[in-house]
Symmetry: C2
Subunit: 224 residues, 2 copies
């Protein structure tokens, strides 16, 4: 049962549920799902019920939502499509990293398996997308642990940027401007709880930068 048997909307739900727990452990809720999908909670409730009937996830009323192995496999397939497409748009069509998410969000439902494999081949089987997110292999790689959000990191020593959330294009443009991209190293100077600011210094640069709540939430770093 290939991913293409599902509706676009079902594909997006599965992808969203899977990615929700890729970088953090908090389980996904109906309300968050509704926000991310741009629909009302009642719509999500209905949709979840249908996905459950199809055996793609488990869910008791008012309970937690969890993907079955079948649902997870489809989700990984969609994540692979999304990230390969983003990479393709940057590498082959000269898109900026802030422009690719919305385009990929639509294309991921339209391209054939054949096209995805040709893109993968053309790009030399890339393992990370333009935002640093891992691209699952054709069989389905697990996700990467051990990274934390900048806003939760201790101010000691140098850390490496692992990935940056691709949700907000304007924020991505700002990160480009200041040179904050995946694989860049930086030092956390200070966490300021009440101003919701994180002060950092990019390695090799002098000046400090203050990042607000949203920004320091979007950046994931690791000590290694």
């Amino acid at each position: 049962m290939p991913v293409s048997d599902l509706t676009n909307s079902a594909q997006d739900y599965l992808k969203l549920i899977w990615t929700a727990t890729e970088w953090s452990a908090t389980p996904i809720t109906v309300t968050v799902l509704a926000e991310r999908m741009g629909v009302r909670p009642s719509t999500v409730s209905d949709s979840i019920k249908k996905l459950k009937d199809q055996g793609l996830l488990t869910h008791a009323p008012y309970g937690t939502i969890e993907l079955t192995p079948a649902g997870s496999a489809h989700a990984v397939d969609m994540v692979r499509r999304h990230r390969l497409l983003e990479t393709f748009l940057v590498q082959v069509l000269g898109y900026g990293w802030d422009e690719v998410h919305d385009e990929a969000e639509v294309l991921e439902h339209a391209v054939s398996d054949t096209m995805i494999e040709r893109i993968d081949q053309r790009l030399g089987h890339p393992t990370r997308d333009p935002h640093g997110d891992p691209i699952p292999s054709a069989d389905g790689q697990p996700h990467r642990p051990g990274a934390i959000q900048l806003c939760h990191a201790e101010p000691e020593g140098e850390v490496t940027v692992v990935r940056i959330s691709d949700a907000d294009p304007a924020m991505l443009r700002y990160f480009s401007d200041i040179g904050l991209t995946p694989d860049v190293k930086l030092t956390i100077q200070k966490q300021r709880p009440y101003t919701d600011a994180t002060t950092i210094t990019l390695s090799g640069q002098q000046k400090n930068v203050d990042l607000g709540q949203a920004a320091s939430n979007a950046v994931w770093v690791t000590n290694s």
Copy 2:
């Protein structure tokens, strides 16, 4: 009002109605439309009514279907998308000319205007797709007159292949095998009405080839 405001189905109807009169003058009928869209005639009737209400075509019950200027503009936009995508798939992703039609049929609804322009740029503003069909420019070029189907051509002198219908992938593979592609020159040896065969010789080759009804219908040639 950009083409993206229309549903996929509306986009396909307009494109189909426009292309129906690109190479021949016979007006499109509900039945033919139903066949090409893969739906029932009643579905077409309903859809036509909606497109009429949107001012995209004119149609009196049991009468002919004709695009308004607005409908025609959207149709040309879709044709441009379809043919640029086909060209892109061949040139950049190494598809064969028999593989691109179905992929483009889906992608044409999913890519953004931005992506289409980037593809156009990347390809150097191509003017014909892999099947020889003209690619309308961004503002909307008229179609090419003066070509006729091989089955209707007189057996005298050399003719040039202008375009080949992309509807049947298996037929396209056969044409590849025998070297019959756009811009190739050939001589028509004989039209055999009762066997529905057309005998041709590709220029620079010795042996004759018999083409059946469907094949000689799909190939459009010109004397010039």
